[in-house]
Structures are given as structure tokens and as C-alpha cells.
């Protein structure tokens, strides 16, 4: 097993380097004067000279890449023009918001998608199967930002005065201010908190648990529902389809027939024998969904006024903030690789055939 894990990690390293190389190449493709493009038209010659010196833009391409690589490895992703801050600091603050949204969306997708897939496979070609598959087809065909707008309209306007009304915007009720866990615990103040503390405290659900704050917890959840539904719909559709085809395949296997013929209850046959084996491939899909979740977050966060990396990226694009766009691309791609690495390892752990082949 440790051999398998090491081999997988070893294989991921060239991909990570490749990602850095591509983001580097993107930076070199900026048309025109890179300094004025990155720092703005009004940058003075002295500032530009210093900037070019710092990034080594007057050096050869391999040397420039070495500088970029060492900057990235040491956590320096440049300075955001739009926000006037280091991209790394900005991301430490914004990533937790997106992580919280992506995880909620994934939970929504898994909790609904797997049972729907199982039921569809078990009741193959029934009304519920056809309806689920049609729904899944529609789910992957919808633009996620449109779904977000429609959900905001449905829950924020049409259902406004019913118990189902949900806030269509923001992470918390406007004006509400909840203390971070490090303040409650007396570890640090807002000014002295470390990057890690800020990161954790920005995960509102976790912060609510750490500070035992029920109001914060409920407020966060209420604001999470709509964006999570919007972002989670595509993964939900994919997971439902995958689960269905996987369970269908397993239900026709000999050992399932054996289980039936020895008189096991239908529940035991389906849930214990069929489903537990059928869910293995679904694990991989959950890893692959991450890319969709991130793209979804980029497109929906602005709609719901969610200050995560999606909204940050959006603001960066509008301001043509190259360092920020480059940084966000690099960090999400790296996270994508690492998450799939973890999923691969879990998969190898669950299925010996994978790790021994």
C-alpha cells in the first residue's frame, strides 16, 4: 500500500510542474508591455524597472521560469492590481468561502444523487427511472449561473412570504457580526491572527461549531442552501447517472443472483451485495467533480454575493488583473490534482485490484 501511495505521489509531481509551466507561459503571453499590463498604464519608468528586475523579465526564459517556480513554491503569487494586496493573502481569506460552498454542494449532490441512482437502477425503465434520467440530462445541460439566478428568483421572490423563503444573497444576514474562534478563545485579535487561524475562522460552519454559536450556524446554512443547490446540480446529475449504470451492471452479476437464490431479503441483496460494490467507481467521479464545482463556484458566487475565489476571480477579470487570474488558475489546478491524488489513493485502498495492477 505505501508503495502504491508513493508511486502515485511521484506521478503527480511532473503534472504539478507542468501546471506551473503553463501558468508561467500564460503570463508570458500577455500582449504588449508586461509591466504596464500588470501594474497599470500609469506605472512610472522607475517602478517598471524595479518590477522587471524583481520578476527577472529581462532574463532568458529558463531563468525567468526558475524565478517564477521558486516564487510559487515559496508561496509568492505576485501582487493583485485590483485589490492592492498579495495574491496569496487574498486567497487565504477567500478560499475557505469557496471550500465551504463546494463541500456543501458536493454533500447535496451525493446525498441526493446516490439514492436516486440506486432507485433508478433497481426500478429500471420505470417512471421514476425515466424521470430521474431526464432530470439528470437537463441538469447537465443547464448553465449553472442561470440556475443560480432562477433559484434566487424562486426562493427570493416567488416564495418570499412563505416558510420556504431563503436569502438570495450574501453569506450572512447583512449587518450581522460574529466573533472568530480565535477571539472567543483569546488566542489572537483580528490583527495578530495567523493565516491558518484566518483560514479556519472563515469557514463559517466550522467557526460556528468552534465557538458554539447556534445563530451563526443556522444563519450560514440558510445562506448556503441556494448557492450549494446551484453549484451541486451538475455533480448531482453526473453522480446519479454513474450510480445508476454502475448498480445496473452489478445487479446482473452472478453473485447477486446467488445472494437472491439463497433467500436473502431484497434489501440485503441490493444494499449489501450490489450497492456496496457498485459505489466504488462513484468515488472517482466525486474527485473529478471538483473541476465542475470550482467552475460552478466561479460563475455562481457573484450571483449570490459570495466573497469566495470565484467572485475574486470575476473582479480580477473585469480589472484585467493578470497576477490574480494566474494565481487563482494555478491554485485551483493544483488543488484539482491533489484532490484527485487523494481520491486515487482512497480508491486503491478500497479496491485492491487497483493498487496491485
Amino acid at each position: 500500500m505505501s508503495n502504491f501511495v508513493l508511486r502515485r505521489i511521484f506521478l503527480a509531481i511532473p503534472v504539478l510542474l507542468g501546471i506551473i509551466a503553463i501558468t508561467f507561459a500564460l503570463g508570458r503571453m500577455i500582449p504588449g508591455d508586461p509591466c504596464r499590463a500588470i501594474l497599470g498604464e500609469k506605472a512610472s519608468q522607475a517602478v517598471c524597472d524595479a518590477f522587471i528586475e524583481r520578476l527577472g523579465l529581462n532574463k532568458s526564459i529558463p531563468e525567468q521560469f526558475t524565478i517564477y517556480l521558486s516564487n510559487v513554491v515559496s508561496g509568492d503569487l505576485g501582487v493583485s492590481l485590483r485589490f492592492g494586496r498579495s495574491v496569496t493573502d487574498l486567497l487565504v481569506e477567500r478560499i475557505p468561502v469557496t471550500v465551504e460552498l463546494a463541500v456543501s454542494a458536493l454533500i447535496f449532490a451525493v446525498i441526493l444523487g446516490i439514492p436516486l441512482g440506486i432507485i433508478s437502477a433497481y426500478r429500471y425503465n420505470s417512471t421514476i427511472d425515466v424521470a430521474t434520467m431526464l432530470g439528470a440530462n437537463i441538469g447537465v445541460s443547464m448553465p449553472v449561473f442561470w440556475l443560480g439566478l432562477m433559484l434566487a428568483f424562486l426562493f427570493g421572490v416567488i416564495l418570499k412570504d412563505t416558510p420556504f423563503a431563503l436569502p438570495p444573497s450574501g453569506r450572512l444576514t447583512a449587518g450581522a457580526n460574529y466573533p472568530a474562534f480565535y477571539e472567543v478563545w483569546g488566542l489572537a485579535t483580528t490583527d495578530t491572527a495567523s493565516g491558518f487561524m484566518i483560514f479556519v475562522s472563515r469557514l463559517n460552519v466550522l467557526n460556528a461549531v468552534l465557538t458554539l454559536n447556534g445563530t451563526l450556524f443556522l444563519d450560514t446554512l440558510r445562506h448556503l442552501v441556494l448557492p450549494a443547490m446551484a453549484v451541486g446540480t451538475i455533480p448531482l446529475s453526473i453522480i446519479a447517472r454513474m450510480t445508476r449504470s454502475s448498480v445496473l451492471e452489478v445487479l446482473n452479476q452472478d453473485y447477486v443472483r446467488t445472494a437472491r437464490s439463497k433467500g436473502l431479503s431484497e434489501y440485503a441483496v441490493v444494499m449489501r451485495h450490489a450497492v456496496s460494490n457498485a459505489l466504488l467507481p462513484v468515488v472517482t467521479i466525486i474527485g473529478l467533480s471538483f473541476g465542475g464545482l470550482m467552475s460552478g463556484a466561479v460563475l455562481t458566487e457573484t450571483i449570490f454575493g459570495y466573497a469566495g475565489i470565484g467572485k475574486t476571480l470575476f473582479e480580477g477579470i473585469t480589472a484585467r488583473d493578470y497576477s490574480l487570474v494566474q494565481g487563482v488558475t494555478l491554485v485551483t489546478a493544483a488543488a484539482f490534482v491533489i484532490i484527485n491524488l487523494i481520491v486515487d489513493i482512497i480508491y486503491g485502498y478500497l479496491d485492491p485490484r487497483i493498487r496491485l495492477s
Binding site: G18, V140, P143, L149, I317, F336
Partner: protein, 316 residues
């Protein structure tokens, strides 16, 4: 989906090539006709192509013309809700209402079909050409060539595709052409991997060895013998790819990187209307429905083609 059809397999055995080719085509068509999702997809796409071709006839107004100051148009025009005479609306008829600039949304959606279909098909054609070439070379050459190409494809696949497209367009500058290119670039790896896998599976077959023994040039073998065997998965993936490309193009336009105003494009229309969903929902509902139906059509047709072209292919 439908159950496996044994007839296709039967036709492949013991028939002359010319008849077999025709047989498979006819067989595929009859398979497609029996496949509900393929028929639905085909109808949707057919209608869409018609709308795009006949946009000048179907559209009731000029898609970029503001109604303000036109004879007969009275009252507050920007963002006016739909007005259909059949439903008893006495004002000038606008099936889907007017947008913020008092342009007719129905006409903009009709003309938007042109933009979306063009971007969708062109970007897929571009990435199929690039991906197929890379995949053929990679699979047939093997060795370090294969290694270099495939590692590059692995790295491209490691990016969430829409995010990479966003990064490319941000740096190259917003616009429909750049968006189209970016969408094409990020989907090259899908096609190159697909083609490479097909090449590897037929490369060692006896008819290729025979061809080689006859002294055929490798390029000839590659294009006249190996390439036709990669067509089935390419057609299926290409059809599904158009749907994805339409979706991605809409997303890029939505964040202001794709089509620029006043060009009628669905994603761009949504982008303009995003802040008015609570006050003028009609500006949001219709462009979104248009995108959804288009993508759904291509997805259904792609799934149906997969079933009809090769019953052995995995169905999910």
C-alpha cells in the same frame, strides 16, 4: 436506454466492404430512429439549425434595434414584460418582452442561435482536427513522441477546463474569437486521448500488418486505414462536445469575456440581465432556456449516437 441490438454485429460478418458500409449507415439510421433520446435530440437540433438559418425570416424585429422612438411603441419600453396578442395583450407584440435597451428579446434569441451554433461547432471542429492529429501521431509513433504529447495533454486535463479557458481569454483579451479558440484548446486533450486509444487498439491488428507488408507508406496507413476506425468515438464525443462548447461559450460571455455587446448572444444577454432577475425575470428566463434546450439537444443526440453506432460501447 434501449437494449443492445444484435443486428449491427450480424451485418459486420461476411459482407463485401461496399455493401457493408452502406449497411452500417442504414443500420445506424434505423437504430437512431428507434432511440427515443436520439430522436428528441435530433428534432431539437434540427429546429435550432432551421432557426439559425432562417433567422432573418423568423425574427420579428432587428436584434440590435432599440424600440425607443419607433412608431406605435408607447409607454415605458426598457425591460417591458412579454406581450402576446393571442393572450389578449393590446400593446405592440413582443413574444419575450424587451430588454434594458428596449430591444426585442425574441429576435435576439433567434439570432443568438447563429452565434451559439457557430461557436459550438467551430470550436469542436478545431479541437477535433488538432486532437486527432496529435492522437494519431502519438498512438502510431509511440516512444518518446507519445510520451511528450500525452504528458502535455495530462497537464492540460489537470486544469478545470473552464478556468483554463477563462485564464487564456483574460490574457489574450475578451472577444468571441478568443473565447472560441480557448474553448477549443482546452478540449483538445479529450479528442487526442480518444484517438490515441483507438489507434493503439487497431495498430497491432492483422489488416494493418498486411498493409505494411504491402509496402504502404505510414502516413497512408495512418489516414486511410487507422483513422476510419477512430471515427465512431469521435462522432459521439464531438456531438457531446458541441453541447459543452455552447455552455462554456455562454459562461465566458456571461463573465464578459466572450461575445461583446451589441452582438446577440445568450450568455451575454444573461450577463446584462443578471441584476434584474427580481424585477424583470423575463430577461433572464428566455436566454437561459435557449441555452439549456440547445445543450440538451446535443447531449441527447450524443447519447443516442453512442447507442446506435456501437452497441458494445459502455452506456451510462
Amino acid at each position: 436506454m434501449t437494449t443492445a441490438n444484435p443486428e449491427v454485429v450480424r451485418l459486420k460478418v461476411g459482407q463485401k466492404p461496399s455493401r457493408e458500409t452502406r449497411g452500417i449507415v442504414m443500420e445506424t439510421i434505423s437504430n437512431l430512429r428507434r432511440n427515443r433520446s436520439a430522436v428528441a435530440g435530433f428534432i431539437v437540433i434540427g429546429l435550432l439549425v432551421m432557426i439559425a438559418l432562417l433567422a432573418d425570416v423568423i425574427a420579428t424585429h432587428d436584434p440590435i434595434l432599440s424600440m425607443i422612438g419607433l412608431p406605435g411603441e408607447t409607454g415605458r419600453l426598457p425591460a417591458r414584460p412579454p406581450c402576446v396578442a393571442l393572450l389578449g395583450c393590446a400593446d405592440p407584440q413582443h413574444f419575450m418582452g424587451l430588454d434594458l435597451n428596449a430591444r426585442d428579446i425574441f429576435s435576439r434569441i433567434v439570432f443568438g442561435a447563429r452565434t451559439s451554433l457557430r461557436v459550438g461547432t467551430l470550436s469542436v471542429i478545431f479541437s477535433i482536427i488538432a486532437g486527432t492529429t496529435l492522437g494519431l501521431v502519438s498512438g502510431y509513433a509511440g516512444g518518446w513522441v507519445d510520451n511528450v504529447i500525452m504528458r502535455l495533454m495530462d497537464v492540460l486535463l489537470a486544469f478545470p477546463s473552464l478556468l483554463l479557458a477563462i485564464a487564456i481569454v483574460t490574457i489574450q483579451g475578451p472577444g468571441l474569437e478568443n473565447a472560441l479558440l480557448a474553448i477549443a484548446i482546452v478540449s483538445i486533450p479529450i479528442y487526442s486521448r480518444l484517438v490515441r486509444a483507438s489507434v493503439l487498439s487497431v495498430k497491432e491488428m492483422e489488416f494493418i500488418t498486411a498493409e505494411r507488408a504491402l509496402g504502404a507508406h505510414p502516413v497512408r496507413i495512418l489516414f486511410s486505414q487507422i483513422f476510419p476506425n477512430t471515427l465512431t468515438p469521435l462522432i459521439v464525443q464531438g456531438t457531446l462536445g458541441v453541447g459543452t462548447a455552447v455552455l462554456d461559450a455562454a459562461a465566458l460571455s456571461f463573465i464578459g469575456l466572450g461575445a461583446q455587446p451589441p452582438l446577440p448572444e445568450w450568455g451575454q444577454m444573461l450577463s446584462e440581465a443578471r441584476n434584474y432577475v427580481f424585477t424583470a425575470p423575463h430577461m433572464v428566463i428566455f436566454p437561459g432556456l435557449a441555452i439549456m434546450l440547445t445543450v440538451l439537444g446535443f447531449n441527447l443526440l450524443g447519447d443516442g449516437l453512442r447507442d446506435a453506432l456501437d452497441p458494445r460501447l459502455n452506456r451510462s
